[in-house]
Amino acid sequence: MGHRLQLAAVSHCYVEGKCAIIDIDLAIEQGEQVALIGPSGAGKTTLLHTLALALEPTRGTFSWGGSNPWLMASRARHQLRAHSFLAPQQPPLPPRQRVVHAVLAARLTRAGAWSALRSLLTTPADTDVREAYTALEAFRLQDKLWLRCDRLSGGERQRVGLARMFVAASPVNLLDEPVSSLDPVLGAASLAAVQANAAARNATMVVSLHDVNLARERFSRLIGLKDGLLQFDLPTEAVTEERLRELYGAEFGMAVANFGLPDASTSQQNVIVTGCG
């Protein structure tokens, strides 16, 4: 079974007339890497949640590998969820949990309940520790392995959330603003790491980004979303300044100035927040 994702005229409305995404037509092939851009409130998060089976479309059809998950039995649909990895913007890490367990939590879809419990009660198996360690190494967090999550800075938490993706090893990966708490240099490096990981596994990746330049630099396909509507879905070289200006409207100058060219104050602030070497 392939993992081609297809949306046909999909809308998600909370109440009639109040919709987060409207009539989206989209197809993403397995192994493709796509960036989702657009101003705040454009519906990027809703779109990602829809792709992750966390939200059911109120209209239209979503098909995964050719079949509609919402017509499946609940159990089959839940098994399908194990094939998609969604990383929310706020990394959902329990404060008292240690980093090693937080990363290994992504393995739960593969591991049985007993091994999960044993790993918590005594200590994770050596192979599991190594897996978590390798994932953390990719984000230069290896020395945080045995720390508790509440000892991490915001940027470190976000990268632990990304390290989970390596362990989950899902064919479909949906990352919501994965580098929002990182300084530009570290953000680009972390993005490169997840992209390389996905590419090595021929896994699909959809990433929402607020940094337009980063998106243009690292992705060959860009999807522009505004007010819940699909504005464009183009290869990166076809996305002109004109289109971006249209997408962001008056915010455009700010978006590029703020996110594209890191000014001294933001990057310094982020370094303090992330505090990583």
Binding site: L53, A54, L55, A82, L104, L108, A113, L120, A168
Partner: protein, 279 residues
């Protein structure tokens, strides 16, 4: 005229008749209540009561201290601890599955729609109802019933504590599970993990210390319950105390009372230490 009354009223407490009404109502309710409970403090001072009470108190001294009695004291004290611990352990066997089954956060059907399926709601409703029934019946009543069902002895006490405390702990565990930050659990569930996995890695780390300290606190309460259950024949210190009281053996009663107070203070101390250590 109007101005006069309003001026006059201003000096009056505007809620005085309300207060008077409440006071009167309370007094009116109090009198029949006092009558019902046969509130006659003077009966303690009539000849017969003074004699009965006096001779009982006099028999407190000297406290019983022969070797055989002391052995009984020690074994029945340990028995009380054993009944309490076994009861709480069996109570956990009820509470943990119930708290997991009744947990609304762990609903897979609620992921996408925000509300649970019919089956999920029914199961959770039944579990919660069972927990309410278990803990609304006092452990002493369970004890009375089990003494009839399984005979005098420890078993009745253990079962009584297990059911009542299972109900109480189940309810509190449920509340704790549902009150901590749900996002870690939901994220795991959303990525396809099983309910039990999402619970172990998403919910449990946040609330484990809280649960453990509540459990220790419950164990302390179970020690008290275990003594009381002895009065209906469920073994331990309470049963021996009741026998001594029936025989008006004050010297034994006073020793049992001292042992009980010491045990409760010890449990209190252990519980405080453990909880401080866990925080």
């Amino acid at each position: 005229m109007n101005a006069l009354t309003s001026n006059h009223n201003r000096l009056h407490d505007p809620v005085w008749h309300q207060r008077l009404g409440w006071t009167a109502a309370l007094l009116l309710l109090l009198i029949p209540a006092l009558w019902i409970v046969e509130f006659k403090p003077w009966i303690f001072f009539d000849q017969q009561s003074l004699k009965a009470g006096g001779s009982f108190i006099k028999s407190f001294w000297p406290p019983a201290h022969d070797a055989e009695f002391l052995r009984l004291l020690v074994t029945s004290t340990w028995n009380t601890i054993a009944v309490a611990t076994a009861g709480v352990t069996l109570g956990l066997v009820i509470a943990i599955p119930a708290a997991l089954l009744g947990n609304r956060v762990l609903s897979v059907s609620a992921i996408a729609h925000g509300r649970m399926g019919v089956l999920g709601r029914a199961v959770r409703g039944v579990v919660r109802a069972v927990l309410i029934v278990l803990r609304s019946i006092p452990e002493l009543v369970w004890g009375l019933i089990f003494v009839r069902a399984v005979g005098l002895g420890d078993t009745a006490g253990v079962l009584a504590i297990a059911l009542t405390f299972g109900g109480m702990m189940g309810k509190v565990f449920l509340e704790v599970f549902e009150s901590v930050d749900r996002r870690p659990t939901l994220a795991l569930l959303n990525n396809g993990s099983s309910r039990i996995g999402a619970f172990l890695y998403g919910t449990l780390p946040t609330c484990a210390p809280e649960l453990a300290s509540y459990l220790v606190f419950r164990w302390e309460c179970a020690i008290r319950s275990s003594v009381i259950l002895g009065f209906v024949g469920a073994g331990g210190l309470g049963q021996q105390m009741e026998l001594s009281m029936k025989m008006l053996a004050g010297g034994e009663v006073v020793m049992f009372l001292l042992a009980f107070v010491a045990l409760v203070s010890l449990a209190d101390l252990v519980s405080k230490r453990l909880r401080a250590w866990m925080q």
